[in-house]
Symmetry: C2
Subunit: 394 residues, 2 copies
């Protein structure tokens, strides 16, 4: 606990005014004063300061009620740009975005079989490519990466698939790019994206489960990310869902990833088609090869084999969702990535499993749904991370 100072008070009130302008298009100084309970004088001082930084601009006159019409101010989304990077997939993906997270430029580089230093170089090249496109002052670089990350130090503790251990990415990138750099686990930043852009209000509590090559989740409690003491909170991909199940890369058996990651699901799809090669599903698979798209189509048309696979996937995700709901008593569990292909049949299987595994009252209050943010959720989250750290937004 530190002493409260005049400086801290001022920073707090500046953030308050900036947030108010950010969340309200076309607002007058008088409205800001009313909404924040700050004095007109304080608001005017802060607005002047924010205009000096270019974050806020005057946009014209509002309608006059009495006396002269009020001048409206607005948040200038184009005043800064952010470089946002997702190092969590098979293709490194980055974007240049404005202060509202609108994508201005995209850039991708396939990872191939690069690991260690080579993978790091690729990430470097990706940022270089975006850096060359910048047309406004840079607010910062935001990076979502696999593995536990110390977000204050910007060190990646361990990203097994990248062969990175205690990689001080903040220092390495900081030496080349002289702007603020913020790094966090990819599932954690995805949760920040859901929190900022998912329409859950200003200080939501939610869990975002991200499923792809791996599985992870990010936990947001009252608008704040819970990272955990080892920066591994929400590491649900390696929670056991089948004691004595298949071996996992982590050394344990029956982890969620062994049955519910994208590669595991494709393996199960192939096994199911081999089991019944003459079924419509089996024949389609022989003709077209195993793919998520194939499973999506057959699930949608109600094919029993596809439905059974989706049901099992939902059940396994449900085991872990039940742990999340039961431990945290958070009412919103949001799915992102591969499971969003499988609609209500998947959600229903998850809900059934949650009902069987937590207190009925808690299960009733738990909503399970799909994220609306789409495949760039980590990019959006990296943007939210930088906005949060640099401007206390949103």
């Amino acid at each position: 606990m530190k002493k409260a100072t005049h400086q801290a008070t001022k920073e707090h009130n500046t953030t308050l005014v900036l947030k108010t302008i950010y969340h309200n298009d076309q607002i007058s100084r008088a409205d800001i004063a009313r909404m924040t309970s700050l004095t007109r004088t304080t608001v005017s001082e802060i607005v002047t300061e924010l205009m000096g930084l270019g974050l806020v601009r005057e946009t014209g006159f509002g309608p006059a009620t009495i006396g002269k019409p009020p001048i409206h101010v607005d948040f200038d989304a184009g005043a800064r740009q952010l470089i946002c990077v997702d190092l969590g997939e098979e293709e490194f993906h980055g974007a240049l975005v404005n202060l509202r997270g609108d994508v201005l430029q995209r850039h991708s580089l396939p990872l191939g079989d690069r690991k260690g230093e080579a993978a790091l170089q690729l990430a470097h090249r990706l940022v270089e490519g975006l850096w060359a496109q910048v047309t406004a002052p840079i607010l910062g670089i935001g990076i979502g990466t696999p593995g536990p990350v110390d977000p204050d130090k910007g060190i990646i503790r361990q990203a097994v698939n990248r062969d990175w251990t205690n990689l001080d990415l903040k220092e390495i990138f900081g030496a080349r790019f002289n702007v603020p750099i913020h790094i966090a686990n990819d599932s954690h930043v995805a949760a920040l994206a859901e929190c900022a852009y998912g329409g859950h209000g200003r200080t939501p509590s939610l869990v975002l489960i991200k499923v792809g090559e791996g599985i992870g989740s990010g936990i947001v409690l009252g608008g704040n990310l819970h990272t955990g003491e080892g920066f591994s909170a929400g590491e649900v991909g390696h929670l056991c869902v089948e004691r004595g199940g298949l071996p996992c890369t982590c050394g344990n058996h029956g982890c969620l990833e062994t049955v519910a990651s994208t590669p595991s699901l494709l393996r199960l799809v192939r096994a199911e088609a081999e089991r019944a090669p003459d079924s419509p599903f089996g024949r389609a698979l022989a003709a077209r090869g195993a793919s998520l798209e194939l499973l999506r189509e057959f699930n949608e048309s109600g094919d029993p084999q596809a439905r059974a696979l989706v049901h099992d996937l939902g059940t396994h995700l449900g085991v872990v969702a039940a742990s999340l709901a039961g431990v945290l008593n958070i009412h919103k569990i949001v799915l992102s990535g591969m499971p969003t292909l499988f609609g209500e049949p998947l959600l229903e299987a998850m809900r059934t499993e949650i009902r069987a595994r937590v207190l009925p009252e808690m299960a009733r209050e738990t909503q399970v749904c799909f994220s609306a943010i789409g495949s760039e959720i980590v990019i959006q989250g990296a943007c939210a991370l930088v906005l949060r750290k640099e401007l206390n937004l949103p």
Copy 2:
């Protein structure tokens, strides 16, 4: 987000000074100024104010280094008293304590088969009994109770075993006792006790699992209790540990409480003795009846039947501890109540299960241990709750 005010700054700094005195016996105003970075003048003003409230007193002179010797001040633990109540067990238990949580008086009333209004009357009588013993101004009444509790409103949402639904205990007790009243779930306040008096530092993260008639846990993140959106965070007694297991009072099957609460354990002890009536364990049970004490003795002497029962108990607790560790990535899991009777064999079984169920790195960093606070942990927690709410201590 609210505006920061001069008043908020002052309150913050007053708390800071009070905390500093609370944690440091015999301290001078100059030392406080040094430790808090506040000015000597501000510290002197605040100390004078705290002395006016009776919370701080001058205790004499310290050694002079140069000039006149400094006057020492101290926290006066006897300046207020607190009434603390545990409504979570078969016997309602209360205590009168000072500002350090030292017990001055105890009072207990057996619940018998009372439910609803009769149980409420008993709680009332318990507080009345302690109220009559008070010898200093009352800081407040703290209550730990079963079931989810809205701690701000002081309403017990539902305590099934007490037959209480939406019971506004704060209002009911407030009408009779004109002092601040704070109410929370019994496992949640137990976690506050562990946090305040368990020697884990000032802002620890930990989970306290409390096992007795029922099973619950309290989650402390960075010194703050995480209550959950429905006030049911840490409701681990009803997490499923055996899909399709025994029916539970909650309507589900295979909840942790069906295999690891005290009544469930005693049932399993009896079943084991019936299975092998001629073993030393079976004969002792026939002679002395099933009891925790019997199991404790036989576990300690290494009896294989007792050890197997303890191993299963540890395994079941370990399933839930793994969910807690995997979801929260909190490094300290502390057990209170019945499991503390069974020592290392129990902890080892839990650790084994955690290792099998979470990421090896996370399992390595997770400590599982017993609370040192003992059977009055809810009383101590009710004290910590009132201190926290009324004085921002400890």
